[in-house]
Amino acid sequence: MLDGEIQVAINSDQDIILARQKGRALAAEIGFAACDATLIATAISELARNIVSYARKGEITLQRVNGGNRQGLAIIASDQGPGIPDVPQALRDGFSTSGSLGMGLPGVRRLMDEFEITSQLGRGTTVVTKKWKQ
């Protein structure tokens, strides 16, 4: 584990709360404004919720990141679930396969500054998303 890296195992809806509390604490430590810390906590909540809904279990990793002369926070949400058959479709507003609101991924992309997703059918999904301190 890297310095300043926090891992939270996501196995139930209780873990969603733990993950977002850890995220908010790390955001405060990095020096994010309260408003950005809320955006980060909300993004973590949605990503952790996706894990519980689609893959049942997985992991949220929170990292302090440096890019040039700016500091930020990365959220890595990974699972070994069923994977997403059509990633571009999953990134469109209003799409959902679990009867949820279907705003998870595009919403998270709007909350954060950088967003990458890799998904393999039968292997799982990993989302890496970053927010930079203003």
């Binding site: 809806d13 209780q14 969603i16 709360i17 977002r20 509390q21 908010r24 309260a34 408003c35 809320t38 955006l39 906590a41 909300t42 909540s45 949605e46 919720r49 507003d93 949820s100 609101l101 705003m103 998870g104 595009p106 919403g107 998270v108 709007r110 909350l111």
Partner: protein, 120 residues
């Protein structure tokens, strides 16, 4: 987790805590609807001032609460959504459309009183 529900005349006031799990929220939804029936309340105020995140599940639960209570013939107002929480909700596309909201408890109560006056 126990959520305090206060009875104030015709109105029930439920104060939501910061860290409510999905299960807590679902239990609250049914608990609140049961109380509305039990006390024959005409209005419900859900105070979310302490909630630091309102994600898709929490928003959906709030909408369901408001719609269930409306079917019962009563009105619901959500009060105290924090500005940064509102900002995050809009980014997520969660608008709580069709649900009344007010700045705080006081404004929520006066909104309900206006509604009640029209009814009588």
């Amino acid at each position: 987790m126990e959520v305090p529900i206060l009875k104030q005349g015709d109105v029930l006031i439920a104060t939501f805590q910061a860290a409510l799990s999905d299960d807590d929220l679902s239990q609250l939804r049914s608990g609140l609807v049961q109380q509305v029936v039990r006390f024959r309340s005409h209005g419900v105020i859900v105070d979310v001032t302490a909630m630091d995140v309102l994600d898709s599940f929490a928003s959906r639960t709030l909408r369901e609460i408001a719609h269930m209570i409306r079917l019962r013939g009563a009105e619901t107002v959500i009060v105290g959504i924090q500005p940064e929480v509102a900002f995050a909700m809009v980014q997520l596309g969660l608008t709580l459309e069709g649900v009344a909201t007010a700045l705080d408890l006081e404004e929520g109560l006066s909104y309900l009183n206006q509604k009640f006056e029209k009814m009588h």
